[in-house]
């Protein structure tokens, strides 16, 4: 006897397949609404520093951090008339005031913005005589302050002929007396290049801890790899290049750069400072346009994991500039100030951001 399928049979046979289809469709039902964040503190302000009269724009500075304020140094400053002033500087004593009324540039005797770090007449003449499109430029790195004197490390860079062409010749040291708008370049055996590029990395500022001056440096060694190390010299030999050694976590202070321990690997700028009873590195992730802090067990110790603090205004193109933390502007225990420059359309220019932590660093890193 032949049995003809009816609608019920058909439905029963197709039910498992239908179930599979429905279940597969249902699996796509996730709609992300928002990604929230928790925070270790609050960005209390992020202002655009007003541009001084007669100046076209402000880029991000490096700095020397004094107790009374932060001494900012710009690699170059373009005036309204198109003139370029290398290594102009300004002393910033208060972040709120800088946000409200801008900075007051250091002026020379003629009343024009002064170059803190200037080429010698011989260097200027040598630049004029060159025909390969390259020019020697002095590029400030930052440094530390000790006994009222500012110790500024800088690069002797051959710049050009292309816009991105820059070759380091070596690092020099310039000493700034209190209130001065120029600094004195240290010379050893007639040469201002005190450290060759493969001798010491001194490009990330420094500080004085106990009986030693510490200077941090980060050097690109491969794509996306920029290890940071620390160099140091006894305080009575700050101006002696050979006194600078690098720190090894196992052997202490050693001479070979290749023996230095890596404190961190950061592509962006790193600023180490004493903070909250310990040491802290403030870093900028140039890809995320986000600032982080990293606790350090000591000024020569490895940097702990990153903790995000705030997002900067992303640039319209390329990366943010600057990113230094200015400990000289701190006026309350849990507050830090960071400068950066951005081309972001909403508020282009030099920014000074103030961030307040909710708790001590030790509590955050529990």
């Amino acid at each position: 006897m032949t049995r003809f399928p009816n609608a019920f049979d058909t439905a029963q046979r197709s039910q498992p397949r239908l179930l599979v289809v429905l279940v597969a469709l249902a699996s796509s039902c996730i709609d992300t609404i928002d990604e929230e964040t928790s925070a270790v503190g609050q960005l209390t302000s992020d202002c655009v520093v007003p541009v001084p009269d007669g100046v076209r724009s402000l880029d991000a500075p490096v700095s020397l951090e004094y107790t009374a304020g932060s001494f900012w140094i710009w690699r170059s400053l373009e005036l309204a008339d198109g003139q370029i002033v290398p290594n102009a500087s300004a002393f910033v004593s208060d972040a709120t005031q800088a946000c409200a009324s801008g900075v007051t540039l250091g002026l020379d005797a003629a009343g024009a913005p002064a170059s803190l770090l200037a080429l010698t007449p011989q260097e200027t003449a040598a630049n004029a005589a060159r025909s390969d499109g390259r020019q020697l430029a002095l590029v400030p790195f930052g440094g530390f302050v000790y006994a009222g004197l500012g110790y500024l490390f800088y690069d002797h860079a051959l710049v050009g002929p292309g816009i991105f062409d820059e070759e380091s010749q070596g690092t020099g040291l310039c000493v700034r007396a209190a209130q001065a708008v120029t600094c004195n370049r240290v010379t050893v055996d007639g040469d201002t290049i005190l450290w060759k590029p493969d001798q010491r990395i001194l490009n990330s500022g420094g500080l004085v801890v106990d009986e030693r001056a510490l200077v941090y440096g980060c050097r690109r060694v491969a794509s996306f790899s920029t290890p940071c190390t620390v160099s140091g010299a006894p305080l009575d030999a700050i101006e002696v290049p050979s006194a600078y050694q690098v720190y090894n976590l196992f052997n202490g202070w050693v001479d070979q750069l290749s023996d230095a321990s890596v404190l961190a690997d950061e592509l962006g700028p790193v600023t180490v400072s004493a903070f909250s009873g310990a040491f802290m590195a403030t870093t900028l992730d140039i890809f995320e346009s986000r600032f982080y802090v990293r606790r350090m067990s000591s000024a020569t110790g490895e940097m702990d994991r990153r903790i995000a603090i705030f997002d900067a205004l992303p640039p319209a193109s390329w990366f943010l500039g600057g990113g230094r933390e200015h400990s000289g502007l701190r006026r309350s225990p849990r507050t830090i100030h960071v400068s950066y420059s951005t081309s972001g359309a909403a508020a282009p220019g030099l920014h000074l951001a103030t961030f307040r932590f909710f708790a001590e660093l030790g509590e955050i890193y529990q």
Binding site: L22, A26, D34, A308, A359
Partner: protein, 326 residues
């Protein structure tokens, strides 16, 4: 919209399939005619109080809740695979003439794959390619049931007050293949320790059973990323049939963020609904449901706010309508 329709359809088909399987389900629920509880270990010579070891945790079961924090044997099939091993038991019950006291333990461990369901593992359980997110919780509770007051209101009614201390922590496991990567979970919220007070009630109206629970949470200072919270739990089921009972559950909670380890955490909210059928037995029930939710995720993804639709199965031990009727 496609998700909504397909999930509803899938739930409906599952329900119809289960209903067909039940076949002879058209037996009236004995709920209304349930005799009073007869303790397995009564104190000799005393009519009241009566002491019972290991029993139903609550007069008004929590296992019906739409909350993901419900301690039960639970498997979420979609949208992400999540398996929970959990239980909720009274270690002892003291039953007096007018009230009863239950005190015991609740706890769970939940493993959720941090990815959509994409297949099944060797055991046939749903699986996905992602990190495994862990949640572990334990709680001690005392529940005080006002039996006489509830009886005076209606046959089968219940009113219950409960207080519990809960701890919950969350973690994650990377892939055994090493592709999970390390993750700093400190920015993510941490439930930690809290005291939870709730007031629950249960009513029978014809063939319908309703349960409600209002919840208040107070988190211990410096032990959680939340300070306080409130929740509301609603459940309705059609109890005409003894073995197969359609139900709907809804749950909503609001948690207020707090400072923990120098970090300020944001508020969180969750709204979730279950629609499905419960296959009832003396031991408990199998709840097959479709779920929809909006709000913060759980565990170390608690900062993500999302809306999902999914499917799941729950084995709710010691929690069926017979439990509610006692």
């Amino acid at each position: 919209m496609r998700c909504v329709l397909t999930t509803l359809l899938a739930t409906t088909i599952l329900a119809i399939s289960a209903g067909a399987w039940a076949g002879d389900a058209a037996v009236r629920s004995p709920l209304a005619d349930d005799p009073p509880d007869v303790p397995s270990t009564a104190v000799p010579g005393l009519a009241w109080p009566r002491l019972t070891w290991l029993g139903y945790p609550r007069r008004v079961p929590r296992a019906w809740s739409a909350s993901r924090d419900t301690p039960a044997m639970n498997m979420i099939v979609f949208p992400r695979p999540a398996d929970m091993a959990g239980g909720d038991f009274s270690l002892f019950t003291l039953q007096f003439n007018r009230w009863s006291l239950r005190s015991g333990f609740a706890g769970f461990i939940e493993l959720e794959v941090d990815a959509r369901t994409s297949g099944s593992n060797a055991g046939g359980l749903p699986s996905g390619n992602g990190k495994i997110l862990w949640r572990g919780s334990y709680a001690y509770f005392a529940a005080f049931s006002l039996d006489a007051l509830a009886r005076s209101m209606c046959q089968g009614c219940a009113i219950e007050l409960a207080l519990q201390y809960r701890h919950e922590s969350q973690h994650y496991t990377g892939s055994n293949a090493g592709n999970g990567g390390e993750e700093d979970a400190t920015p993510e919220p941490y439930v930690g320790d809290d005291l939870i007070f709730d007031l629950a009630s249960l009513q029978r109206a014809g063939n319908w059973l309703f349960a409600e629970r209002a919840i208040g949470m107070w988190f211990l200072p410096d032990r959680s990323s939340y300070s306080a919270g409130v929740g509301l739990d609603l459940h309705a089921r059609y109890v005409h049939f003894a073995r197969v009972q359609p139900f709907i559950s809804g749950y909503a909670e609001q948690l207020w963020g707090d400072m923990l380890q120098g970090r300020q955490f944001p508020d969180a909210y969750r709204v979730r609904a279950l629609v499905g059928i419960a296959l009832v037995s003396a031991l408990g029930e199998i709840m097959i449901y479709g779920a929809g939710d909006v709000g913060n995720r759980y565990g170390i993804r608690g900062l993500t706010e999302e809306a999902t639709l999914g499917l799941g199965v729950r084995l709710a031990l010691a929690s069926g309508p017979k439990a509610a009727g006692r």
